[in-house]
Symmetry: C2
Subunit: 342 residues, 2 copies
DNA sequence: TTGTAGGCGTTATCAA
DNA sequence: TTGATAACGCCTACAA
């Protein structure tokens, strides 16, 4: 086994009879250093097996080149794509990505927020836990002038950057699409608090119905405890058991939409003829289910990339943006078999 | 906006008329500090809004409490579950997880390996890029005595920890299952080099056929350029166009199995009656496709957890394990509709 | 263009 | 049980 003594800029300075400051500058292509010196330093550094110590540099400069990412979970296709987008943008800029999962627990989120803070991340990207109502645990970053971007599940009233889709409009368009296919009794599954994205989607659903002069029927709106196949199956069964069952369903997540289709098929209810279904997210499962699930596209990777870029941009300009704008990304109705009626 | 001056152990020491070393120890519940002092210090620290600077601690102690994770991508269900397992184990131990994607590029992998090295990660977990043949870029960590765990896609000859499933046995069992269902012409899709997991699965497939005295037919084995729906569809079409088409297929990935089923259905070939299919991974899509895809379970989260725990364990004991054992996790044949014939 | 020197916030060693 | 002091490796005014 090789002996392993760390080579530092000190050692290089010694060898070349230069000052450490010169070495430090040369390695960073500082303009005040002559080309000859830069070359010499770099060559020697390589020969000696020097590797920069980011830790020391970070401590000194108070810049960590690390983006903290705090999400409910990373196994959902939408979220793993989001991370992928973040990672790609970060990698390009030489930044690291630290990932933490809140598992939708408010308590965990608070703890992990602290942890990211203690790690002096340069910026933080967060999608809120389902449980979270209060976001004061993020105030730390605000006070500290650390770029903070919320993505997808964002707080209502908090002056930070936000990268989102227009959930209201998406819900509206999804419902409108079902109406355009001739549905008149459209069911809807929902979840979470009045601060959640699901609430927005529901508002869009309701307004689309209103605009089409369709009644809002409470019995057609079911609130789920969680976004799971089981919950959606139970809800769908309940809906199909109604005296006047629905002829359409807007499921604000593909898991829910797929589950609804499976449930309908099991009961011999034909999709889309008797029940037209549209989901949300464009998860892989949506084009595996038979009939293929119509859905709303959700530009996960782009949202990740946009979030990371906002952070990087704010880190670059010495003075942070005072206006924390909201970035809206586009969604589209993806019409597939599960809702095509005419 | 609040002024933000960082509170350090210095400030606490000043306030309490104690030495910084005492503060440092007290905050860590060092046994040599009296209970009274510990309490006093902690209380004051809280009051003053102290937050530890992990950077400084890392620099001094040469321990970063960070696990580096280097994967081909994070959007595959198997890999995002793997990360989830790592993250959960790491979080429990107070470690951070830094994630990087090689996008199956050897060149990227080398660069990112360097980057993790420069960041002084405490340990590294890696699943190799599809392209990677040579793993000498990991030698750094070996020389440095940094725990290194390969997971799933592991190198053949490299004395490191490895967390894997028995791909040979899994391939063997999958094929055997099809044989038990009466299949006699079993097709197989494969990919990658002779060092890849797919090669092992293929060997299992071949040995199962041999053991059952079934011929190995070259025309039934198709090598794909990539693990995609398109590649699998093309291959399936080719297979079904044969004079004597197969009556079974072992697809070493659920994407491939699902694609095969879709292709067969499109052509009016009945699954499982005319073509029994078994996949690999137990991805979400496998139980959405109709008929449900039989598959091989792949304990992704457990593999992640096991990998992280190996690192943590080796970090704890001052002397590293010299024997880098291989950890085999169990897989099971999950029989679903796509292969059930009797 | 290069050098000097102090400090970033912590931990480790030795001494008291 | 506590304290004094020197690192850890780098960056950055300021000086030359």
């Amino acid at each position: 086994m090789k002996e392993h003594i760390e080579v530092t800029i000190y050692d290089i300075a010694d060898k070349l009879n230069l000052a450490t400051s010169t070495i430090s500058r040369a390695l960073k292509d500082h303009h005040s250093i002559s080309k000859k010196t830069i070359e010499k330093v770099k060559k020697t550094a390589k020969e000696m097996g020097y590797r920069p110590n980011n830790l020391a540099a970070s401590l000194r400069s108070k810049k960590t080149k690390t983006i903290g990412v705090l999400l409910p979970t990373i196994t959902q296709p939408f979220l793993s794509s989001l991370i992928s987008g973040i990672e790609i943008a970060a990698q390009k800029a030489g930044y690291n990505v630290v990932i933490m999962q809140s598992h939708d627990s408010y308590e965990q989120e608070v703890i992990l927020t602290q942890s990211l803070y203690n790690n002096r991340v340069s910026g933080i990207i967060c999608s809120l836990a389902m449980e979270t109502q209060n976001t004061s645990h993020f105030q730390l970053f605000m006070d500290n002038n650390t770029p903070l971007v919320f993505v997808d599940r964002v707080p209502k009233a908090f002056n930070t950057f936000r990268v989102v889709i227009d959930n209201y409009m998406a819900g509206y368009k999804a419902t409108q699409h079902l109406i355009s296919q001739g549905c008149t009794r459209i069911a809807h599954l929902t979840a979470g608090s009045e601060f959640s994205i699901y609430y927005e989607r529901k508002k869009g659903y309701i307004d689309a119905l209103k605009e089409a002069n369709l009644p809002i029927e409470e019995e057609l709106i079911i609130k789920l405890k969680a976004i799971t196949y089981e919950e959606a199956e139970n809800a769908t069964n309940k809906l199909l058991d109604l005296k006047r069952p629905p002829d359409g369903m807007f499921a604000p997540g593909d898991i829910l939409g797929v589950s609804a289709i499976q449930c309908a098929k099991k009961r011999g209810v034909k999709v889309p003829e008797e029940l037209a279904v549209i989901g949300f997210n464009n998860d892989p499962i949506s084009h595996i289910i038979d009939p293929n699930l119509s859905t709303i596209t959700h530009p996960a990777e782009k949202m990740g990339q946009a979030s990371a870029e906002i952070i990087l941009k704010n880190l670059k300009s010495s003075k942070r943006d005072e206006v924390k704008e909201i970035t809206f990304l586009n969604t589209e109705v993806l019409v597939r078999e599960s809702s095509k009626r005419n």
